[in-house]
């Protein structure tokens, strides 16, 4: 699969590029699901030394894509497979806490993974645009209900029901880097009960 083209939208909506090798003393790669393809392309384009300085954290994608076997075959300095982002988080925080300036960070896969990893990087004090990102695979969204603040993962339809408070939410392109989520706003607040049928917008 190649680079995802997103329809033009408001400035808030994150956009992604294509990972390309950059010189640095160390490389931290975080990917999920189809993001494995971006990792393989990146290492394929890099000179042979990069793999030996790379630490990859990989999780299965929201659609179940799991290319662990192919990634494990790369001779990376460290490869860690985690079942979920929550499970990978302690390791990610430890790695960022021990890292030095100059480390190159690459994020690939679903928007939820990219956004949450980017948030950790920002928490570690790096500018948000100091990481490279490449979207691959699923378009499902991580959405915060602006009413109850609960976050629903892997939202595929618009509108959808908040998994916390049950309100019907319209999925906006308005994105919060700090929360790593799109904003969901009640769609029938003015006219309770008139909820349009959900459309599968994010596959």
């Amino acid at each position: 699969m190649t680079k995802t083209d997103f329809p033009p939208s408001i400035l808030s909506r994150p956009t992604y590029g294509v990972l390309s090798p950059r010189p640095g003393p160390a490389h931290l790669l975080i990917a999920d699901g189809a993001g494995a393809g971006a990792v393989l392309d990146l290492l394929g384009a890099a000179d042979a030394g990069m793999a030996g300085g790379s630490h990859l954290i990989y999780l299965p994608g929201p659609d179940g894509t799991d290319r662990t076997a192919e990634l494990a075959a790369l001779a990376l300095a460290q490869f860690h497979r985690a079942p979920s982002f929550a499970a990978a988080l302690p390791r990610l925080r430890k790695v960022l806490g021990d890292a030095h300036m100059g480390v190159q960070i690459y994020l690939a896969g679903s928007e939820g993974l990219i956004g949450q990893a980017q948030r950790e990087v920002m928490e570690a004090g790096l500018p948000h645009d100091a990481v490279q990102t490449e979207h691959r695979g699923s378009w499902v969204r991580r959405v915060q209900c602006v009413h109850c603040k609960g976050i629903t993962e892997n939202v595929a339809t618009d509108p959808f029901l908040c998994s916390h408070c049950g309100l019907a939410l319209f999925v906006r392109d308005h994105y919060s880097r700090r929360i790593a989520a799109f904003q969901g706003v009640n769609i029938d607040a003015e006219d309770p009960g008139s909820v349009p049928p959900p459309v599968e917008k994010f596959r």
Partner: protein, 321 residues
């Protein structure tokens, strides 16, 4: 003239010779009120009436941002310069009335950083004095590496060392001491931001070393005010005001526009802030772009000029001003 930031009528409260090249000037408001609050890295534009020549030069505010009783600047005498620093060295005395601008900050600390690594060369120390005072009050983590020619010219080095001890590292060129930059950069924890202020060569060296060490651009901050370079005199037409004027050899385009009574925007007057950006309506010749603001593509397009530092050579230049 209302082109720049709002003005403050001030009186010179104190003049202190810091060393053979640097003098410190402290300004207080003529009406006795407090100065506007500022943040570390901010500068003020000092207006001078140098025996009929109007000079406006930016200087970093070096005092503690928490102290709004006055502003202090440190001025290095530049004998080969256009005359602003010589004027401040030779003619400014306590009690004199002057006009300075409200503070503008083009070199602010990024307070999201986990650590602030500062590299200063010579008079480039001044913005860091204010930033360090601000960080010390906030409990922020910083480290200063400050290079000067020798101990006698190491302005404020002793005060900094006395107050901040091991966080201050001094280097003297005459003693062959050099900042070991690659090693310094390699050892910085994630989330460090890098700041550099000093001579052109130092800024270039620090930025390119950081770049090749993999530092993100947005974590590397620099401040460099350019003095408007002299050049051949040239004519310029201001389309909106219907005037044609000549820019003198030692005058900047911005100064010539102001001297013609045309109000033009500016903040830094040193090619850094972008405020003076002006559309070029016609150009038969070559624009000498000297700023740090326009992108290479914009410079090549010939459709924009920064009148505070850039010049022109050729037959005719028409600006939308």
């Amino acid at each position: 003239m209302s082109g720049g930031a709002a003005k403050i009528p001030v009186r010179v409260a104190e003049v202190t010779e810091v060393n053979a090249l640097i003098r410190r000037i402290r300004f207080v408001r003529r009406d006795g009120g407090p100065m506007p609050a500022f943040s570390g890295g901010a500068h003020t534009v000092v207006e001078m009436d140098d025996h009929g020549t109007r000079r406006l030069n930016p200087y970093s505010l070096m005092g503690d941002p928490a102290d709004t009783t006055g502003y202090s600047i440190s001025v290095r005498r530049d004998d080969a310069g256009r005359g602003g620093s010589l004027y401040l060295h030779r003619h400014v005395v306590p009690g004199m009335d002057m006009v300075i601008s409200h503070p503008v900050n083009l070199f602010a600390l990024d307070l999201r950083a986990k650590k602030h690594l500062m590299i200063a060369g010579g008079i480039g120390i001044t913005p860091f004095l204010a930033q360090i005072a601000q960080l010390a009050a906030l409990g922020g983590r910083f480290e200063l590496h400050y290079a000067t020619r020798n101990p006698a010219l190491c302005a404020y080095g002793d005060e900094l060392t006395a107050r901040y001890g091991g966080r201050v590292h001094l280097y003297h060129d005459d003693a062959g001491q050099m900042i070991t930059l690659p090693a310094l950069l390699a050892g910085q924890p994630l989330g460090t931001h890098l700041y550099v202020c000093g001579p052109k060569g130092m800024i270039r060296w620090v930025r390119s070393t950081a770049d090749s060490a993999g530092w993100p651009r947005a974590a590397v901050h620099h401040e460099e005010f350019l003095a408007p370079p002299p050049g051949k005199a040239f004519d310029v037409t201001l389309a909106a005001s219907g005037k044609t004027l000549t820019v003198g050899t030692h005058q900047s385009l911005l100064e010539a526009i102001e001297a013609a009574g045309v109000d033009a925007p500016y903040l830094c007057r040193g090619g850094a802030c972008g405020q003076c950006e002006t559309d070029v309506l016609g150009c038969d010749g070559t624009i000498r772009h000297n700023d740090h603001w326009l992108t290479e593509a914009q410079k090549a397009s010939g459709q924009k000029i920064m009148p505070c530092v850039s010049r022109f050579e050729g037959r005719s230049l028409v600006l939308d001003r």
